[in-house]
């Protein structure tokens, strides 16, 4: 084991239950009161290819998968070859002896055993759960109970199959890595589930989406929960429709959110600009995958930061914030929903595949979510774009006797189109005033997470890379200060001031170092070096800790 962490890795073809086996493992660990981080690595295809799920668990808070596993279960030869270097010292490797005769590890005839049942290959995942159960010293009864709960169809066959596999690996696995039980059973959710729940808690009424990995599971989760929460959840014909429908909904007063990845966001930018001038409160989740263009759909990157910061033509206020953890994204989604309604402007929740689709055990105070409330008009003649001290015009929604006009053309206070020079400048000034109001508001909020260390160097990071950094420091026993700006636009320079001229390094997932550039240009932060990864994979804490150590020495 890597210190206090146990890692289980299961790999095979899409359609063999790899992901499900990972998720069952995660639930087994969390039901033992342990903390979990699960990452699924999969290709953009339906059947075949190579998928794997890696689940790391500890009795303390854990914020990353480890790519050195204590138990590796391979369903096929490709998995065996792929993960040959992903085994921890003393780790157990299981291979499918029907596919290859000689490999390092314990061979079991997974295929021929599964062939005896009608579900065949679909049972491989159950086999992996049986091997894990044996390895962590779980009794057959406990295992069967888990299988019953987690695989509700074909229970009898699944249990029969699991029992066979459990007995087969007895010699090599039984109780080889007994796991200590923790004290608290925590729920385990993905980043996208946390986004969805945070939005609901913050007041979401309508959600629009067009399928695009890694944001699709927000659409799926909310569609499933629509009736339960009384939401309207719509899969529209394109991201153009998505953003414009959401803006239409917001006009009626409905708290609206959209979600996509880079390519879909590119289509939405026209609508983001519309939201800018019409002062529409709209929240957009941008979950990054490697680009440009179609890029690598099912992997992770942080290369849309610049794009998010400048999305949409014209001068207008964009709020951009990026959550560091699955817990943080629950609160942040509700908070952003509130902010876009308070300041009547588009907001972007910038995240990555690594946060969207990874699962973690969470300690959430559900009640702490913000609730989106706009400033409302309180009687009298209504002017949609009334010029106020802070630039925020009170809102009013139909049906109303007062006329409410939102306009994509430059407009007067009523909302009627104008080309008058004074009015154009006045409206620019009005909208621009909201930036100062927002900054004053954010100064009273937590906008940057700072974890003070003893080492004089500071590490700047953001988004899910924060989790990788946390785990790397824990693993390496390193203690620099970590600075993780949650808000990226406006950048909380008032918080960064004190670090500006210290020794700073940046860790991010972009080949050009977009985050480092932002810190330099907007924050005047002195940066000594940038640790980057841009191969679609998240950092591994062991490798990252070595790189950080080199920088700190």
């Amino acid at each position: 084991m890597v210190h206090d962490v146990f890692t289980f890795l299961v790999g095979g073809k899409a359609g063999e239950g790899v992901k499900k086996a990972g998720s069952v493992a995660a639930h087994i660990f969390s039901s033992m009161g342990r903390q979990v981080f699960q990452m699924d690595d999969y290709m953009s295809l339906i059947r075949g290819g190579h998928n794997f799920s890696v689940v790391s668990t500890s009795s303390r808070w854990i914020t990353s998968q480890y790519m050195k596993a204590d138990l590796v279960v391979n369903f096929d030869k490709r998995s065996c070859d792929t993960h040959i270097n992903d085994v921890a010292a003393g780790g157990i490797v299981i291979f499918n002896s029907d596919e290859q005769e000689n490999a390092d590890g314990i061979g079991i005839p997974l295929s021929s055993e599964a062939e005896k049942f009608p579900m065949k290959k679909l049972m491989y995942g159950v086999g992996a759960v049986a091997i894990l159960s044996s390895t962590i010293g779980m009794s057959k009864d406990q295992m069967n109970q888990n299988i019953k709960n987690q695989y509700p169809s074909g229970i009898e066959d699944n249990i029969k199959f699991a029992d066979t596999i459990y007995d087969m690996v007895k010699d090599g696995c039984q109780n080889k890595c007994p796991l200590e039980r923790g004290v608290k059973n925590r729920p385990i959710i993905t980043g996208n589930e946390a986004i969805s729940l945070g939005a609901i808690a913050g007041g979401l009424d309508t959600y629009y989406g067009y399928p695009m990995t890694p944001a699709s599971s927000i659409l799926h989760f909310l569609a499933k929960q629509a009736e339960n929460f009384g939401l309207a959840v719509v899969h529209a014909e394109s991201e153009l429709a998505v953003i414009n429908m959401a803006i239409g909904s917001a006009f009626t007063g409905a708290r609206s959110m959209v979600g996509t990845s880079g390519g879909g966001f590119a289509l939405m930018t026209e609508g983001i600009s519309l939201a800018g001038i019409t002062e529409t409160p709209i929240l957009c989740v941008l979950s990054m995958r490697p680009g440009p263009a179609t890029g690598v759909p099912t992997y992770t990157e942080q290369a849309d930061l610049n794009f998010a910061l400048s999305a949409g033509h014209g001068d207008f206020l964009r709020i951009v914030a990026s959550p560091g953890t699955v817990e943080e994204v629950y609160y942040l989604t509700a908070e952003l929903l509130d902010l876009v309604w308070k300041f009547q402007t588009p907001g972007i929740l910038l995240t990555e595949k690594h946060l969207s689709e990874s699962s973690m055990t969470i300690d959430l105070n559900i009640d702490d979510a913000k609730w989106a409330e706009p400033k409302m008009h309180n009687g009298g003649k209504y002017k949609r774009y009334l010029d106020t001290d802070d630039g925020i015009s009170p809102m009013l929604f139909p049906p109303s006797k007062e006329i409410i006009k939102w306009n994509s053309y430059e407009h007067d206070e009523i909302g009627i189109t104008t080309e008058n020079a004074d009015m154009i400048a006045k409206m620019h000034n009005k909208r621009n005033k909201k930036l100062n109001a927002l900054i004053e508001h954010l100064k009273t909020q937590n906008t940057v997470n700072i974890i003070r260390g003893e080492h004089p160097t500071n590490i700047f990071t953001y988004g899910s890379t924060y989790m990788s950094v946390l785990e790397a420091l824990k693993h390496g026993g390193l203690n620099p200060t970590i600075v993780q700006p949650i808000y990226l636009s406006p950048l909380p320079v008032w918080e960064l001031e004190k670090f500006k001229n210290q020794d700073n390094i940046v860790i991010e997932q972009s080949v050009t170092g977009q985050f480092a550039s932002l810190l330099k240009e907007k924050g005047g932060v002195n940066i000594r070096s940038v640790i980057k990864r841009y191969d679609g994979r998240p950092f591994d804490p062991i490798e990252l800790s070595i790189k950080i150590k080199e920088e700190l020495e």
Binding site: P187, I189, L197, I200, A201, G203, D205, T206, Y208, Q225, A226, E227, N228, F229, G230, L231, A232, V234, A236, E237, S238, L240, A241, N244, M245, A246, I247, G248, S249, F251, T252, G253, A254, S256, E270, G271, L274, T278, I362, L364, I366, D367, A369, W371, P398, P399, S400, K401, E402, I403, I404, K405, W406, N407, S408, Y409, I414, G415, I416, T417
Partner: protein, 278 residues
């Protein structure tokens, strides 16, 4: 009728067909009110183009959107608050060029909204380029040797994609136009009105007046409507098709209203706890 006019300066060309639509709209609203439709519940959206200027002139609430995206705005309004009556104004370039997909999908879904398509068969505001409804051979600044494309037939297109109320009328026939608008707004489902309207720098009123004729009767079946739409010339006015089909928002959430029946914060928190902690 006068209080349906804002103080905005009207910048349509003198004699523009849009004035006819503006007048008919202001005639239609009191008639709808007489039928029990509340003016407060009427919300408009418009795209970009000469048609869309009506947004500034009509004293009704709404959203002046982007070129081609007005029907998506309208769909979003209806989905969020189905109590509202939504009218979306579109031009032929706006609704069948840039916004074609949105127009088609709004009809496919049978969204309970009304689209008024101002058909002047030209991109007027941008100086006379050919539009999706312009006759082949049109010499505009982008097609100096004449447009080489065959125009859409808006009526048969709408029949094909699922609109449940489809009519063509003319800006010079105010009574007919007013009557069709009233019927369309009363109709439950996607109602589509193509309004022939001369843009005077490019077409004269006489070109239209000489050719318009009325359908003798409402075609009885879908097939008959399609045949009529395809065989009659493009100046044929009247109601081509009217049917009933489930509307989108009711399919999505029955008789719920996401806005007026929204869940309280407490109820949401309780339900989230149920999901996470059982």
């Amino acid at each position: 009728m006068e209080n349906l006019k804002t103080n905005a300066e009207i910048t349509w060309c003198p004699g523009c067909g849009n004035f006819g639509i503006f007048t008919a709209l202001r005639n239609a609203i009191p008639k709808l009110e007489a039928k029990g439709i509340n003016r407060k519940d009427i919300v408009i959206t418009a795209g970009i183009g000469c048609h869309a200027k009506i947004f500034d002139y009509l004293n009704l609430s709404g959203l002046y959107g982007l070129h081609g995206r007005n029907s998506s705005n309208a769909e979003g309004m209806k989905i969020a608050n189905p109590d509202l009556k939504i009218i979306t104004f579109s031009g032929d370039g706006n609704g069948l060029g840039e916004g074609l997909a949105h127009t088609i999908f709004a009809a496919k879904r049978n969204q309970d909204i009304t689209m008024i398509l101002h058909n002047n068969s030209v991109y007027a505001l941008t100086t006379g380029q050919y539009s999706p409804l312009t006759e082949k051979g049109w010499k505009g600044p982008s097609t100096p040797r004449g447009s080489i494309e065959t125009p859409f037939n808006a009526i048969s297109l709408m029949l094909e994609v699922g609109a449940t109320f489809i009519a063509r009328t003319f800006a010079g026939e105010i009574t007919h136009l007013t009557d069709i608008i009233v019927q369309a707004i009363e109709h439950k489902g996607f109602s589509f009105i193509e309004v022939l309207q001369p843009a005077v720098p490019y077409h004269s009123w006489n070109e239209y007046r000489e050719k318009v004729e009325f359908l003798e009767k409402l075609p009885e079946t879908y097939e008959e409507a399609m045949k009529t739409a395809k065989n009659k010339h493009k100046y044929t006015l009247g109601l081509f098709y009217k049917t009933q089909r489930p509307v989108y928002h009711e399919g999505l959430y029955g008789n719920h209203n996401p806005l007026t029946k929204r869940l309280s914060r407490n109820d949401r928190i309780t339900k989230i706890k149920q999901i996470l902690f059982g």
